[in-house]
Structure formats: structure tokens, C-alpha cells
Amino acid sequence: MIAVLSYLGCILLWIGSTLLMIIKKNPFCALFLFCLHFCELLVIGLKTGAEYGKKVTETVASCLCFGFLWWLPLRREMKRDIYTDDDFIRRPDDVVIRHD
């Protein structure tokens, strides 16, 4: 739910910045968001997208729109899904939990 709300918050931020730019002729908020996300794209976004297997267009669009809200969950998922042979050894405490 936090992720969904964060995405919605980011979209609202973009809408607010755009309105500010059009109505108040103040481009700084939108510019700041764009620059921040652009830096994130160059520093970690492209790398994350490539490692995850995303298309470059999807990576660029997603990272420019959502910044760390996009790449951070991917990095977390990648970290979670890296296994060694040790992770596949059957142990007595492997599931099962029964909801009797």
C-alpha cells in the first residue's frame, strides 16, 4: 500500500509542478524533479534496468517519472532473488505451516 501511495504522491507532485509552471510561470519545481530523476537515471537507473532485464525505453520513462520509487524496489527484489547453492538444501524447518 505504501508503494501505491508513493506512486500516487509522485504523480501528484508532477501534476503540481506542471501546474506551477503553467499558471505561476515557475519552472523550478518541475526542473528540480526532472534533474533529480535524470541524475538517478544516469547513476543507477540505467544500470538497474539493464541488470533486471527491462527495455531501455521503459527504464528511461519509468526512472524519469518515478525516480527511486521505481529503481529501489527493483534493487531490493534483485537482492532478495540472489541465491547460492546453500539456499536450495532441504532442511527440516522448511515449510510446512498448517492453519488447522
Binding site: 532485464g53 524496489p73 532441504r90 522448511d94 515449510v95 510446512v96 488447522d100
Partner: protein
Amino acid sequence: MGIKYDHNAVVIEEAPKLNYTHNYVMLPYNYGTPEYEARADVKAIKATVRSALDKLDASTGWKAKFKGQKILIKPNLVFVTPKSSYRYDYDIPQTTDPRVFDATMEVLSELCDDIVIGEGSGLVTWTYAKMAGYLKIAKKYGARFMAFEERPTERYFCPKAEVGREVYFPDIVGEVVRGERLYVSHPKTKCNIYTGVTLGFKNSMGTYSVNMRARNHTYEIDTKLTDIMYAFKPDLTVIDGIIGGEGNTPGPNDPVLFDRIICGTNAVEVDRVTTELMGFDPKESKLLQEADKKGFNDPNVEIIGEKRIVPFRQSEPTLLSERFKKHWPGVKEFVGYTNPHVPKLTKLDGIPFEDVYAMEQFDRGGTPSSLGTCFEVFYASYTYPLTKLRHLNVIVGEGAEYNGKKYWLSDDGHAYSLEELKALPGMTVVVGENSAPAKEAATHPFFFIRGWGEVNNLAVRMAVSMMPTLPGQADLVWLPWIGIGAVRKYCIKVARAAIGKPTDVTYDAFRDGPYTIPELEAQDLDVDCIPVPMEPLDWKGRLKAMGEVRLLAQFLI
């Protein structure tokens, strides 16, 4: 129609004892890379599936019959629920393990070029396929993925069927019915609240158009499911038994380490063997009894492999069990039917529990199972502690007749009149079309839930009655994709209706009994299934079909 095998076999292939509990619901991000292929679990699953299919080929020669053919392969794609979906700390094993499915696709793609992965989950199939990784699998093997509910329907008559005489299938399944495409059933080893277990031929339920499924989804469900085999049977059945699922599927179920692949050329026999391996007596399975009665079995089947039994916790399609009462001490059920299949009411007090239970279980494939599924979802939701003690009365059925008056039985041994039901403390819901005589007892007209078959309707209204329940069904990170998938499905269904190729039939599952077909010629009565051309839709018909596609319903059905 389909392959005729001279000899049928079932192969049970044990998988190496590894920890398979990583990614059994969703493929990892690195699927298809050398890192993924090098994983111990992936290598073991691929070797097990290949070995099982090779042994089956040695016995039946299925590969030669599949060579160069078109294939429809259907996994069992229900909810795709990683652990964050519910308050449990494990993934919910409802959907065919994508690692196993990938292994089967690898073998099939060596034989055939035209493979369609098809499924109608009854949910947002496209999104769930994306979540689980089926779209990636399709891409890897050059196959197409089709969500059945987005395909135009075709009409067929099955004259020999008992209840499913008029049936509607998506066009791609129509190719299977007409013998133009082979059908591979690829389910998961799971218990099922409606039918006991859901395996090879029960998997065909998802091939019906959505509104078709609600027809005879009552005490006749076993008959209805076996009737599908008059239209088509699986040419190959591969059961994912690496991680099984026990309990009240399609509600959230619990994983079982089953460690094997079961495959075969006769789906009924594969199901019989798997049912036994799950610790149930196949002779008691009404589904298998029905299939045997209709002659879809093969008593001469060869069974290859060791029958090692791992007992599964059976599903409980009831609100009367000890387990249910422990989980929901505030929920009380009142049930009453009047028909030849249920015990006759002879007194109003001191009614034995067995009679109350028999009364409830008469409609196993219907209301009690749907209610059981809903409560299982509520039980697994994060808000369960807030709802555990909620006082709720659930009334089911048209009432049992006694001295010309209707009564509803409770497990306290008392039969309640309508007046007594109206005076019950707490909130009251009345469930099912046939429960209309008790609708005045509902706390609010909104809580008279007519068609239980409209599962979304039941689930939503039950959730409202159980507020503040927040049922979880999907990883919340994927929630936007559920929305996108639902809108996508809605647009496709509306567009197809607009061009006169509707994806479904009008919802009409308000009664039991067979759906009649026109009188047929003698030669037609002797065949299993006859294609029937659909009436072309005029503009009024198209508008009606477009209007029947409801946006909100797309989230669930």
C-alpha cells in the same frame, strides 16, 4: 478429436530432495539468464520433468503423436499471491509453478512450433500471467499467451452430457474441440473446496467462458466438470507436484512439500493416482466416480513409479466445522433446503448435528464452498484480528419445510423460523438465489446476495458485512497492474462485442438442471460434441453485449 492412445500410462517421478520454496509463485527477475539456469532447483525440476515425460513416451509414444502438431497448454493460473499478499510468511501455492511450467515448455517446444499458452483464471488473467512470469515463458519459447476471457466465444452442443449440454468455449479452445489443436493440461497438486481436489481434468473448468462457469456450479458441479470431456479431453496431463497446496483453495492455501511430477495420457487416471498420493481415497471422489460412470477412465492404465503418500489437509466447504468455529467464533450459519436430496425435517429442536451438516453439504459445489472461500480470504487478511469476533449470521437456502412452514437449521440443534431469524442479534446476510424466502431477515437489502455464482458479488458484499476486512489477493506492489489488466480486459471485451464477436454469454445461471438444447437428428445424438454457429448480432444485440461488460466485474471475473 484428440489423440487416441493404444496404451495409457501414468508416470510418478520423484524430484531430488531440495528446497524448492524460492520462486514457486513468481519467476525471479533473472529468469532465462545463465544464473537462473544454473540454480540447483531449476536444474532439478527440469531434469525431473524431462525424465517423467521421457518415461511416459517410452510407454505410450506420446512424443511421436505430438510432433509438428499445434498445442494449447493450460496451466492452472488462479491468484498469484506472494507472501506479502496475506499475513502469512510464505507464498500461496495456487498457481502452477512457473519453473515447472518452463520445464514442460522446454520439452514441448522441441516437438512443436505453434504453442499457445491459454488460461481463463476468472480473474485478471493477463496481469496474473505477467506477475507469475508466464508472459516471459511464452516469449522465451516463441509461444503466444491468450487470456480465454478476452477471446470470442463459440457455441457447442454435447448431446450425451447430463447438465452441460449447451456450452460456450473461447475460439482457441474451439480449435481443440474440433481436433485442430492438441490440449495439454498442466495443473498444480491442490485441494479444492468445491470438488475435493483440482487436478488434470478439473483444470478444464477454466476453458469455459466466464458466465458459463456459473451454470450448474451447485451440487451438480462434479457432473458438469466431467461433462466437459464430451467436448475435449487432455491429450497430455502434467501435474506440478513440486509444492502442493492444501486447504481451502481457491482461498489462500498452505504449501506442502510433495516433491514430484505426475504425468500421463489419460487425465482421469492421472487424477486418480494423484488423489491417492495426496492421501485421499479416489473411490470417494465424486468427480472420479462421475468420470468412471461416463467411461472416461482406463482400467488398464500402466502406473510407472512409486506411490509415496503425503497426506494433504482436506478442504472444508462448510461453516460448521471445528476449524471454522475456532477461527470465526462470532459467525453462525442457518441452513435449510426442501428437496429429495436432503434430510426431511421431523422436529424443531434436538436436531442431530449430522442432519444439519447433511443439509448444508447438499450444495457442496455451491454456496457453502463459496462462503468457505470468502472466509478463508478474510482469515488470511491482515485485518483478521479486527474481524475475528465479529457477530454475523449467515442464512443459506430456501428453508426446510415442516408443517407447511419454512425453517433454517443451526448447529445448536434448533430450527429457526423466519420471525426468529429476523430477531437475531448482530448482522445478518442471506446468500444465494434460492434463499429469497429468507431475504427479509437480511439486515439490509444489500445483504441479500442473490447469485452466489457471481463470486465477485458475494465476495464484495461479504467483505462489506465483515468490515473492516481488507481482503488481500495480490502483492500491493502489483496493484496498479491489476487495475491496468482489468481496464485492458474491459476494453477488449467491449471492442469484441462492438464488432459482433462477444467474449461471453448473458449471465443466466439462476437455476439447476440441464440447459436444454433443440431436438437433434438421430445421427447428431450419437456424437459427443457438435459445433453450433452463433447467431450474428445486429446492432441492438451488439449494444446489449457491450452493456453486459461491466468494468468493476473485470477485477474479479
